[in-house]
């Protein structure tokens, strides 16, 4: 509360000084900071600034009641993505937001591609049918040899602690599923991220999360995606940013 009061006072001072010709820009924050604004009664724009340069990315999270429920992720963003619009929200409802940095070393990347002879029509038709994914739940497979596990949170051991030997095997009894396996070499991850790089893109995006100690799970492309590169990140989170809160208004299009 005291910190918020100080921030409000600083903002009022900033506003008053803005009445004169010269405006003093506030100093850049030294920690991860989140801000939010209403761009319509039911659309909220969020922006964050992180002065740290060693992050792997940021996860933006929200809740409607921090006393009753946890935060859920809205998205995982590479370091150079610092804005997000949360659209068409529940009317007349409070939204609480925070952002956290995530860290951790990555595995080798592997390219995956569906068969070239698979047409778009056949792909869509097959994907629309139920398929057997009993092979896909996250699992911890026995390691083929002794693996020394190291910390991902120390700069001296993070490289050696990165997941290794990532493989992706197409599940031929599905149209687009594939089984991922890797060697878990980390002792202190909070989980693993599957990161996907679309063909032609320079960035990897988080597309799935699994628990610590997992070294196998299945994932599937959705039409029309047929190719991409994947890697696994042994991950952990930093401390959360400040929390911002906004109350939405009535939805002008709902008419309720």
């Amino acid at each position: 509360m005291m910190r918020l009061c100080s921030c409000v006072l600083l903002m009022f001072v900033g506003g008053l000084s803005g009445c004169s010709r010269s405006v003093t820009e506030p100093a850049a924050p030294e920690t991860l900071r989140l801000s939010a604004s209403m761009i319509s009664p039911v659309d909220i724009a969020l922006e964050w600034h992180d002065p740290a340069t060693d992050v792997a990315g940021h996860v933006l999270e929200y809740t409607n009641d921090p006393d009753k429920e946890g935060y859920v992720p809205l998205g995982f963003f590479p370091p150079n993505h610092t804005r997000f619009v949360h659209p068409r929200l529940i009317p007349e409802t409070k939204f609480y937001y925070r952002v956290r940095a995530y860290y951790g070393p990555v595995s080798n990347s592997v390219e995956v591609s569906l068969p070239k002879e698979l047409t778009a029509e056949a792909y869509a038709a097959a994907y629309a049918l139920p398929e057997d994914y009993q092979w896909a739940p996250p699992a911890t497979l026995p390691e083929s040899s002794n693996v020394t596990k190291r910390s991902i949170r120390s700069t001296t051991t993070a490289v050696e602690a990165a997941p290794s030997n990532l493989k992706a095997e197409l599940a031929t009894h599905t149209v687009s599923g594939f089984k991922l396996t890797w060697t878990d070499r980390s002792s202190d991850e909070q989980g693993f991220f599957l990161e996907w790089q679309r063909e032609g893109s320079s960035e990897f995006f988080v597309c799935a999360l699994v628990e610590p100690d997992i070294n196998s799970f299945g994932w599937a492309f959705e039409p029309p995606e047929k190719t991409g590169s994947f890697r696994i990140r042994a991950s952990y989170y930093g401390e959360p940013s400040n929390v911002v809160t906004l109350l939405t208004g009535k939805d002008p299009e709902l008419g309720e």
Partner: protein, 191 residues
């Protein structure tokens, strides 16, 4: 509106919320419907975890909560669901019933939430992560508005009569387990 004014507005709202401490979500007030549990086939419930242990693609396979019927006003369901594992496909997670199974939000493959009737994709979903579902049922206009992670994903019309909410794991007509889902933060509101 310049940046400084917007920032002040955000902080002032934040202070106001802190002073009231509890939820002050506009006109919404808490509602506490009763429920009973329903299991069939290979379905089982342990606390807030709902499971189908078999891969049978036929018959009734169900592990759900069925909440109290309502027929007037506007009621809102809110809950956070995590699909712990999905070895099958096409499993209903949350339903708003009218005269029959009306709105059914289900998970398919490892990565999609969809509306069972019509098959519309509602959102991407990563198995193992948590996602929040809100369903706002407007009995006066016989529609339910579904939200995933706070954002509207569909307005579903054509309801009639009385309504009720369900959550859990249920094999849809083209689906099969096994599946394990955990629900948390289950709340209801009305206005």
């Amino acid at each position: 509106m310049n940046k400084a004014k917007v920032s002040v507005a955000v902080l002032l709202v934040g202070l106001s919320a802190a002073a009231h401490s509890q939820v002050a979500n506009g006109p919404w007030s808490s509602w506490n419907p009763s429920f009973n549990t329903q299991t069939a086939g290979c379905g089982s419930i342990s606390g807030s975890t709902f499971s189908l242990s078999c891969s049978t693609g036929s018959g009734e396979q169900r592990a759900e909560r069925r909440y109290e019927t309502f027929s007037s006003g506007t009621k809102q369901f809110q809950g956070t669901v995590r699909v712990n594992s999905l070895g099958g496909d096409r499993i209903s997670l949350q339903q708003t019933f009218a005269s029959d199974a009306w709105s059914m939000i289900a998970v398919k493959k490892p990565g999609t939430l969809y509306q069972v009737r019509g098959g519309n994709t509602l959102a991407s979903y990563s198995i193992g992560s948590s996602v929040r579902i809100n369903a706002v049922c407007y009995t006066g206009s016989d529609k339910v508005v579904n939200y995933v992670n706070g954002s509207m994903v569909e307005t579903y019309t054509g309801g009639s009569g009385s309504y009720y909410f369900k959550l859990g794991a249920y094999r849809t007509s083209t689906g099969a387990g096994p599946v394990s889902v955990t629900w948390s933060g289950i709340s209801f509101y009305q206005k």
